[in-house]
């Protein structure tokens, strides 16, 4: 009985070591959703994102274009956007404080001041406010 208990403890300890090791090595999850267009978290909008220029270079300050539409496809021209994000596996945020420079037509917004200072899995989170409602949308990218 005691032997089994000991084996259990050893196995549990090993499991912890493996979990920690996997977290340390940290490739992004295989099933990471890399979609660049999706409904917002509450379904109020359909949000699409793309960097202003591809490819996104590590370390370079650059802009993204965020397109906001209603589920019926009509453009949202009067939204206020906030930007947040970071690296989930590192537990840190963005190295800059990007901001929306406002609506540039057809539901498109230019978000300036984005920088990714490391390779790996990044998340960009947008808060969207308009008369249609407040909602959020989150996008993953791997650099």
């Amino acid at each position: 009985m005691r032997k089994w208990l000991l084996a259990g403890v050893v196995l549990a300890a090993l499991a912890v070591v493996v979990v920690v090791a996997v977290r340390m090595l940290m490739p992004p999850p295989d099933d990471l959703d890399l979609a660049r267009s999706k409904p917002s978290d509450g379904g109020t909008y359909v949000v699409s994102v793309e960097p202003e220029a591809e490819p996104v270079e590590r370390g370079e300050l650059h802009a993204w274009i965020v397109t906001v539409a209603l589920p019926d496809g009509s453009a949202v021209a009067d939204a206020e956007l906030t930007v947040d994000g970071g690296m989930p596996q590192h537990g840190h945020g963005l190295p800059t404080a990007p901001a929306s420079a406002g609506h540039i037509g057809d539901g498109r917004y230019r978000v300036e001041g984005v920088r990714f200072n490391m390779g790996g899995w990044w998340v960009l989170k947008f808060g969207i406010s308009s008369p249609a409602g407040d909602d959020t949308a989150e996008f993953n990218l791997v650099l």
């Binding site: 370390g59 300050l61 840190h92 963005l94 404080a97 200072n117």
Partner: protein, 401 residues
């Protein structure tokens, strides 16, 4: 080997061959991509500095070089920029804490390639190299000079050099010998008595000294290293030859660096730095006040009259992107310091922002132990190194000399 029997000898030879093979070991495509980004050849040309109209003017650089070595820009004629930034020592001084007129609370930073960064000093309290250069000149522990005395010295010793780059010097007659808003009590009183227009004229001269010093520092570049020759060969699919060949320990160090040791997270790109701020739990220095690093620098850079958006900057406000999009209030910036470049670091001990860690081996032990930070939250998550792993990382870092 003498007296060794054939079988063990064969095993030893096979092991030696295996080790040799390691030095030409293939890297995975992912590893190659990471190695490729670290090559010096990937460091693009210096970006223009819109806040400094003479940043790339060779006359400004020549003037700045003269200023850099001139001890006349200090309180007692004993300190120049080169006192701490020694050219023969990678423009740093090998001391834990820099020593000018007095002793500072930070380690002198090397200058090669520094102009590729966005923030200056260990905490980034300056947003340009020219604004940075002004700090030590008036710091009581460094040059302990003052801006009115500097203007007088320019008039006496550098009028032609100055005016060729910046146009006519203002009239300095009637000004006190010494005055500055940051100087001694007497200098501050003298400054207060100067009219606003003349203060602005002095500040323009002072900022121009910084701009000339920055133009000079923009010419201080990284040299190619063994690492670069090795990496170029790996990327080109060639066998590294001559000194470009890595031994098995160096290859192992490189694999650790870009792999499970996670060094490349922050020490990335051709300068081996992400040019950003991280709390790595470096111990406080006994006798020095707690150093909050980046957290205390944010307000300083915003309040700095010599920042990119200030009246002495040549940039339009919209060009000041770093300042505009600066992270202002993040708990992650508490106790965070700038990631230093690792180029030349092996020959540049002691380490960290106040020289707290004596040797490279100790640095790696620090990353392994990942102690709690004296303030804020350390980002380190402790990677356990074997003795060989530690030796491998040290061997890799030496290839960057």
């Amino acid at each position: 080997m003498i007296g060794m029997r054939p079988l063990p000898l064969l095993i030893v030879l096979l092991m030696a061959l295996a080790l040799q093979a390691c030095s030409r070991e293939d890297f995975s495509e992912d590893e190659k991509a990471l190695i490729g980004q670290l090559r010096l050849s990937q460091l693009g040309p210096l970006k223009p500095d819109p806040s400094n109209a003479v940043a790339d003017d060779p006359r400004a650089a020549a003037f700045g070089e003269a200023l850099f070595f001139d001890t006349g820009f200090s309180v007692d004629g004993t300190v120049s920029c080169a006192t701490c930034h020694l050219p023969e020592r990678q423009f740093q001084d090998d001391r834990p804490l820099a020593r000018g007129i007095g002793t500072t609370d930070r380690r002198t930073m090397p200058l090669a390639g520094a102009s590729h960064g966005q923030w200056f000093f260990w905490d980034g309290r300056k947003d340009s190299l020219w604004a940075q250069a002004l700090g030590p000149m008036e710091d009581a522990r460094e040059h302990a000079g003052n801006r009115v005395a500097f203007a007088h010295r320019v008039e006496r010793a550098y009028r032609d050099e100055y005016e060729a780059v910046f146009g006519p010097l203002p009239v300095l007659s009637g000004l006190p010998d010494e005055a500055s808003p940051l100087g001694t009590a007497a200098q501050q009183e003298a400054w207060d008595r100067i009219g606003d227009d003349r203060k602005t004229e002095i500040d323009i001269v002072f900022s121009n000294l910084g701009k000339a010093l920055a133009a000079f520092q923009r010419t201080i570049v990284h040299e190619e290293t063994r690492f670069d020759r090795f990496a170029e060969a790996v990327i080109a699919g060639r066998r590294p030859e001559g000194d470009a060949e890595f031994n098995s320990l160096e290859v192992e160090g490189l694999k650790l660096f870009i792999g499970k040791a996670n060094c490349i997270d922050c020490h990335n790109g051709p300068r081996f730095t992400d040019e950003f701020f991280h709390n790595t739990g470096v111990p406080a220095v006994a006798g020095l006040a707690g150093d909050r690093g980046r957290a205390q620098a944010v307000e300083q850079v915003l309040a700095d009259p010599f920042n990119c958006m200030g009246p002495y900057s040549d940039a339009k406000e919209e060009e000041c992107e770093e300042l505009r999009f600066m992270v202002r209030d993040s708990p992650e910036m508490e106790g965070a310091f700038k990631t230093p470049s690792l180029r030349g670091a092996a020959n540049r001990l002691p380490y960290m922002h106040a020289g707290q860690i004596a040797t490279l081996e100790d640095v790696i032990d620090h990353y392994s132990a990942a102690p709690a930070a004296p303030g804020g939250q350390s980002e380190l998550r402790g990677v356990i190194f074997t003795d060989r792993g530690r030796a491998a990382l040290v061997a890799l870092l030496k290839t960057l000399d």
